[in-house]
Symmetry: D2
Subunit: 139 residues, 4 copies
């Protein structure tokens, strides 16, 4: 397992435009936080869908790196998002990923997205990453 600190450092250097903060990785999952400012909102005073999709994608990536190590070229092959409730415009979005499979060439996980402080998810995502050959311990 790669440490959370190593993943945070990698994200800062290789994904400087990523605004999500990785709070936890390991044990087949990850938690990320995304601060919501005016740029993340859309009409109706709610968080835009693409912001939530980006948080889901980063949470999956962080969780996978926590299992297979720093593999920059792991890439998303599919992401399916269901939007469940109107997120709060005043609260951070928290993404909690749980991996369901880390195979030789594919990793699959789900992400629940929350407005901080509310236990009902605002969105739910399932995503698949492709892992370059020879990089997975195949848990």
């Amino acid at each position: 397992m790669t440490s959370t600190a190593d993943i945070i450092k990698f994200m800062e250097t290789d994904f400087p435009q990523c605004n999500s903060v990785i709070e936890r990785t390991g044990n087949g999952g990850a938690t990320v936080r995304h601060h919501i400012g005016s740029e993340e909102l859309r009409p109706g005073g709610t968080v835009s869908g693409p912001v939530m999709m980006a948080v889901a994608d980063i949470a999956l990536y962080a969780a996978i790196l926590g299992e297979i190590g720093i593999v920059p070229l792991a890439v998303t092959t599919s992401l399916n998002v269901n939007f469940l409730r109107k997120p709060s415009a005043q609260r951070d979005i928290i993404g909690v990923c749980t991996l369901m499979k880390v195979g030789r060439s594919l990793a699959v996980g789900e992400v629940n997205l929350y407005s901080e402080g509310d236990e009902r998810p605002v969105a739910h995502a399932v995503g698949t990453y492709s892992i370059p050959p020879g990089q997975s311990p195949e848990i």
Copy 2:
């Protein structure tokens, strides 16, 4: 049908943070363009997944507004994206939406995403929007 000019104007005033340009709406579809700069890239010199998801979402929204008129509170309820090929870091992303259903309460469409100049899609999305009661002509 609402004119493309009206939709462009609405997007500029209500979605100022949206960087996609709407090029066409009407006839059950829409085309949008997204300029790719350094902010849209990720390791490996490719376009980040969330950028493509955002383009797909906007293409769907523009296509739906073209059918039901300016309904700001139409919201995405699901989006499923498959990433097919590595997009070019030097070319705009073009999203071409075709609506499959515009019902009373739900609209469903698909979006093919291209690196400009290549006819093979780099990604494909299917999304669903929820339409507030009484706003859809139900085509």
Copy 3:
């Protein structure tokens, strides 16, 4: 809440061709069991994908009926399935549904599918049902 016995009885009379057995409903979820015989298998000695999709669909339906009562015309609007591991040809498939949202017009839930006796899911599904107007308590 509708009792599990009522839902089982409804399924037997209205879905006589359904081979899944409902074992539990209520508390925002459901568990169903599907016996695996030769008709459910495909080359490689594994359970066919459509069988698992059918189990996921029934688990969702049973969970929703448990919340909103016997509403025969609730219909699936989307189902997204990821196949994770090769199911056993010798064991029943167990589908465990957890609802994520029961709104006025849409209900969304996830289903983990297992080969009985193995705690790692063989597949995972997320599905959406449309609820006819006036039928949902909107939990």
Copy 4:
């Protein structure tokens, strides 16, 4: 390319329980037909969702075999289905698959499902198959 006759023969011997008829394969696609009888219906006089998912899955499989040859162990890794309109209880379901990518290890395609004689799709699916190593010409 493998001939349609070879694929039909393979399906008859290896998938005897499959009730869909393959009508066309090749050129990156396939068409299949599924006869609708009382077993395929559900309350409300409509075709059950799992039947349509099975047709989508077979159409994808047939299209992929048409490109990579008879590879029995190609398996579905994901399937996303949106149900768009109520299918006719009196008409065959026709599934028309178009492949979007046939890579080294993954193939992705979409399937439009129709009630025969109506040009508006009743459902739309996007699916991914995993191809065993060394079996794909990678088109």
